[in-house]
């Protein structure tokens, strides 16, 4: 006859899914749900196969299967909005973090706008509003090189992977590469190579895996990939409706994508080979100032003028977490992850740095020290410290 259905037994194990979000249960849940579906539909299928059925049995079975279906719908609804912090409920909370300023780099004459770490984990390049680009050994706090750009507001700077050059640009609409020479008599500006040409200010630049290619984003609404040797444009990326303010390269296996954020509140993911926009996310309420990939490359975080930071999952194609607090009303200018991706550092325009627990969505710590807005923030390549640059003319390295 019909297999006996014991809804109570099945469903009680089902309810365990929502309360204990352990991965393994997912597999079991699928099996159980599939069995349940099979059982729920079995009477109907059997009915279709057989010709004659006593009517009361049909009615009874129908009502039974309807009851099961509604119960299943309820369980489905519980899984509908899977948020990161729900899944992370079982994760141990983080303790108190003590992060002190270990180095203060003084020397810029005006607002620090951008900084980048060298792959050797101790050198930094920083650029400021007065047109100066300085290369520091942050460990000893010595300045090693200085370049004066012909323009003010140098909003973008980047260190080459080899450590032999820096790129910078700003209101001059160009991105220039300066090979770093240790000959004190040599004027670095003499060997400058003009690489990128945009029709509006340069907002961000980054070397790809080698010294030979640079990715830039500009106030003219486009991003572009350039060959350093020849200054040739290799690929351009159109799709933003307003200024593009930031970009970050994906740490993926195939190494072919990057994300950009702009004043049109959108964050776009691009394919570097074809120039196509693969994905687009629009949940911010204001300009996106900074985007940074999660270390695994499956997600990225963004900081915006709407005083929130958000985490977007690329596979699920949606936002999975928002990092905000009612007491935070100033925009986030810069974000970066710690090495494990558990912490998200956000530099804000209210002179503070908020440290978020990425999984739980809560704020772990708030760091003071800067006397003006924090404009740039990067974690060092080996994750031992992070550096923040501010409009108070200084950079601080904290652990």
């Amino acid at each position: 006859m019909y297999p006996s259905i014991h809804p109570s037994i099945h469903l009680s194990t089902l309810t365990s899914i929502s309360s204990s979000p352990v991965i393994i249960y997912v597999h079991l849940a699928v099996q159980q749900l599939q069995t349940l579906c099979f059982l729920a539909n079995f009477p109907l299928a059997k009915m279709a196969a057989q010709e004659v059925q006593p009517s009361e049995t049909i009615a009874k079975l129908k009502s039974e299967s309807e009851a099961l279906k509604t119960k299943l719908e309820e369980e489905r609804a519980k899984l509908h909005d899977v948020e990161l912090h729900q899944v992370a409920e079982k994760v141990d909370p983080l303790g108190q973090f003590v992060m002190k300023t270990r180095r203060t780099l003084k020397g810029h004459g005006n607002k620090v706008l951008c900084m980048d770490w060298c792959k050797d984990k101790r050198r930094i390049v920083s650029s400021s509003q007065d047109g100066k680009v300085i290369v520091w050994d942050a460990f000893t706090t010595n300045k090693e090189h200085a370049v004066t750009m012909p323009c003010t507001w140098v909003m973008a700077c980047a260190y080459a992977p080899s450590g032999c050059a820096v790129a910078c640009g700003g209101l001059d609409n160009k991105c220039s590469v300066y090979p770093l020479s240790l000959d004190k008599n040599e004027n670095l500006a003499a060997k400058k190579k003009s690489v990128a040409m945009h029709t509006n200010y340069l907002s961000a630049c980054s070397f790809t895996n080698s010294d030979m290619q640079i990715l830039t984003s500009s106030g003219d609404g486009t991003c572009a990939l350039w060959d350093v040797e020849s200054g040739q444009l290799l690929q351009s990326f159109h799709g933003h409706a307003a200024d593009v303010l930031c970009l970050d390269l994906a740490p993926s296996e195939t190494g072919n994508t990057f994300v950009s954020g702009g004043c049109d509140k959108k964050a776009n993911v691009w394919d570097m080979r074809s120039g196509q926009c693969i994905q687009s996310f629009e949940t911010h309420e204001s300009d996106i100032n900074s985007v940074r990939y999660y270390p695994s490359g499956d997600a990225f975080a963004s900081g915006s003028d709407d005083a929130t930071c958000r985490l977007y999952d690329l596979r699920a194609d949606r936002e999975v977490a928002i990092y905000s607090k009612e007491s935070i009303i100033f925009g986030a200018s810069s974000v970066d992850f710690s090495l494990s991706g558990r912490l998200l550092f956000g530099g804000y325009n209210d002179y503070t740095i908020n440290v978020w627990d990425v999984l739980k969505g809560t704020r772990v710590s708030i760091l003071f020290g800067h006397e003006n807005r924090v404009s740039t923030l990067r974690v060092s390549p080996d994750g031992t410290a992070f550096c923040s640059g501010s409009w108070d003319h200084t950079l601080r390295v904290r652990e």
Binding site: F38, L94, R123, D137, N142, D183, N209, A316, V320
Partner: protein, 426 residues
């Protein structure tokens, strides 16, 4: 659960192993259901019922798989043989199982023996074919390659690997009953999507947990964080040219293939291993392709030509084994070389190494020895006078390293002198 498995495999106190007879081949390391239950009873002093219950879970979650009836995932307390699943395929480590991987597995089965796919597998195969149609060529190519690579193994090893893979996929893609086909697919699809979402979101938790010990800001680092103690020993111990790496560093290579390749020392170790296996040309080819992709635009044509001569030309000294279709496409593309012309071939070789060489390297004596010998640094004792700052030594600028390499013949005393001590103030 994994602790139980590890203790079961202990050579002294663990399970008694027997040999399985499969026609002519004898496959070692099998155990009977009865043995498993008995061992559990003895080790944990529990009742037979409880042991059977635990054993059933071990099978259901894929840590042990049955050899006679692979689809029947339960523990039978008799002479039915079972075997341990390799840690590579454990639910907790190797997860989530991607569609691409499953497609490659089904394609392999299909190619190996026509009609070997059972009903639900056939449906999955067709559904996947529709969904990831754009990479289907790649899937078939990968499947063929993996089959070819496996043919070169001993029969016993091959059977074991096939069983392991089959068991893994039975756990991760359980069969759906025939009756519920249409209704289930339509009804459960949105549910499955939500479950996928669940799985993806869980991956962040997993990643954070895995890397937590490697995160200096969260867990600190040994011997000490240079920024706090002014002692650069941590950087020295983890530099690219160190002879003996730290344990954490070597462990990190096992997290993903990308981690191994990104670390220059890891890459060197992999090369040594591959040389022993006579497949070092794969890694060299991959590296050469990277140089083409990221190198100067003016040198692309020359580099591509080099690569062709060394790796792709028939009879080349370090010929890489790429399937004919990709080879054809690449050779066509080489006639008009551009930055991405070697991409397909590179991806092919990359995935080949990832699927084949990488797991074997992790199981190899070379890796295990390195892991055993790797250093665990001592924590630097905090100095007696915490206010006395150590002298912060400067390090040679990366720019100097390349400069001295360039000026090998010429003498540039000024440059060398300028970097002797601390850099001058500007």
């Amino acid at each position: 659960m994994e602790r139980v498995i590890v203790s079961m495999q202990d050579p002294d106190m663990g399970m008694k192993m027997r040999n399985q007879r499969l026609l002519i081949t004898v496959i070692p390391h099998a155990m009977t259901g009865r043995d498993i239950v008995d061992w559990l009873i003895q080790k944990y002093t529990i009742t037979e019922e409880e042991a059977l219950h635990i054993g059933n879970f071990l099978v259901k979650y894929g840590y042990i798989y049955p050899l006679k009836e692979p689809r029947n995932l339960c523990l039978k307390q008799d002479e039915t043989p079972y075997r341990f699943q390799t840690p590579y395929y454990w639910t907790s480590t190797r997860w989530p199982a991607s569609e691409l991987d499953y497609a490659i597995y089904l394609a392999k089965k299909n190619i190996r023996k026509q009609g070997e796919l059972i009903e639900y597998e056939k449906e999955c195969y067709n559904a996947l074919h529709k969904r990831i149609n754009h990479t289907w060529d790649f899937v078939v190519m990968q499947a063929r390659e993996q089959l070819r690579a496996s043919k070169q193994r001993r029969k016993a090893d091959r059977i074991v690997l096939e069983c392991q893979e089959q068991a893994y996929w039975l756990i991760n893609r359980p069969p759906v009953s025939r009756y519920s086909d249409v209704m289930l697919y339509m009804w459960c699809l949105p549910l499955k999507n939500k479950l996928c979402m669940f799985v993806w979101v869980c991956s962040f938790v997993k990643y954070c947990e895995q890397y937590q010990d490697h995160d200096p800001i969260m867990q600190g680092c040994l011997p000490s964080n240079p920024w706090i103690t002014d002692d650069i020993m941590y950087w020295n111990m983890n530099s690219e040219t160190v002879t003996m790496p730290t344990k954490l560093r070597v462990e990190r290579w096992s997290f993903s293939f990308m981690e191994l390749l990104n670390d220059p020392l890891g890459r060197k170790e992999l090369l040594t291993y591959l040389e022993k296996e006579f497949s070092a040309e794969n890694l060299c080819f991959w590296q050469a392709c990277e140089e083409v992709r990221h190198g100067e635009a003016s040198k692309i044509a020359a580099k591509v030509d080099e690569v062709y001569k060394q790796f792709l030309a028939p009879g080349a000294s370090r010929w890489v084994n790429i399937d004919s279709k990709t080879m054809e496409k690449t050779l066509e593309g080489i006639k008009h070389p551009h930055r991405f012309v070697l991409d397909d071939a590179q991806m092919h070789i990359y995935f080949l190494m990832k699927k084949d060489s990488y797991p074997r390297y992790l199981k190899s004596e070379l890796y295990k020895n390195l892991l055993a010998k790797a250093i665990v640094p001592q924590e630097t004792k905090k100095s007696v006078f915490p206010f006395m700052r150590r002298q912060r030594h400067s390090s040679p600028s990366p720019a100097l390293v390349t400069q001295t390499a360039e000026d090998n013949g010429k003498a540039k005393p000024s440059a060398a002198k300028a970097n002797a001590g601390t850099a001058s103030q500007i």
